[in-house]
Symmetry: C2
Subunit: 248 residues, 2 copies
Amino acid sequence: MRIDVAFNGSATGQGDLHDRVVLVIDVLRASTSIAAALGNGARAVVPFAGVDEAMTRARSLDRSEVVLAGERKMVPIPGFDLGNSPRGFTREAVAGKTIVMTTTNGTAALANTAGSAEVLVGAFVNYAAVLARLRAAAREGKSLVIQCAGSHGRFALEDAVCAGRFVRGVARRGIAPELGDAARVAAMIDRRMGGDLAAVLRESEHGRALVDAGFGEDVDDCARLNAHPVVPVYRERQVVPLGLQRRR
Amino acid sequence: MRIDVAFNGSATGQGDLHDRVVLVIDVLRASTSIAAALGNGARAVVPFAGVDEAMTRARSLDRSEVVLAGERKMVPIPGFDLGNSPRGFTREAVAGKTIVMTTTNGTAALANTAGSAEVLVGAFVNYAAVLARLRAAAREGKSLVIQCAGSHGRFALEDAVCAGRFVRGVARRGIAPELGDAARVAAMIDRRMGGDLAAVLRESEHGRALVDAGFGEDVDDCARLNAHPVVPVYRERQVVPLGLQRRR
């Protein structure tokens, strides 16, 4: 099996995905928030590219069962229940609810995974849980594509460090994958720069922008390794915790 | 001033380019071949995305003054004078000629630089010459975008190492640019992996594919630092050596 990493763009650019597991990473902040929401008992996170679509979908659901969440230019959207701060997705706010979410980078990355065998959502906060799932897939011989959301279509350091940590986690103890160029480099980035996660996140371009916009605590929350041990799976246009039946 | 690196995609994805200098890198093999051609006296290299376009353009020129060059899936195109092997662009073959060229990745990267202040073409073979030009621009306060061609829209290690070497070359002795995330990472990639250029090129995915296809000598040629000390500038849809008047 092999591991490919895409630092930006779309997983479909990596070729045929039908027998590959795709891991989507948007550390700051969508995949961290998704893990926080599911870890705190949300039934599902339903990502939408557009604000209007998200609002329309939210209106079609029972108001007591839905939480409308998202950001544009980092700040919460007027009229929404939550922004994109992981700490907003508390058990009180989300348990038993469906989260309708729209974010700048993360939702697009999820949408562009069509045709893959399985799509997972990973971040530092659910690293060990997702890694176990990836290693199980690798042992079955399934190749992996790690798709970083990036920032506005560009390389984002925080996603690359996280991707590299997953590469390193899979490629050890009995599993020796073939690594694409970007997977090799991602592993090196984590090895060289991932020692102090909170620091590397704050030093990244996106992290600095969030700190400047008053979201420094969010950045620190996104560095909390294994704080939300959940495996989010993207199926039929919604993200659910692995093992939980999708609610119809 | 600042330096941004794009590992793949298009320079226009880096935002407004009108006051920025763009350096396009396609080490294996287009930018190396362009430097070889201009270094050996070609008047200009005219890149085309499509084979048919290239042939049409070549027919519109005096046959004795044009060389038709290019590859698809690494091998020379039937009926063309040259493939994309740098060693093919000898003084005998190209001096005084216009090279009409089509390659898989490099020509697209050049096309997507519209609106920038200046577009240069760099590789290891013309590193020092291009670096001098970049440092002059940086001293004038001009920001830089280094656009790697990548491989089929994906990250390519050889271009990232070369981009990182340019970042490191600009960012020293009196010039302290702000570095985007990808520029920081590129510099680290060169520092950690660029010690033996011929080896890193042969170990890259694209390099291995070229070696397997019988182009191992080309890969080694692409690692020959400063073998062709020329500064290729892309202007009005053709690449000319800096300082030479464009032929009309």
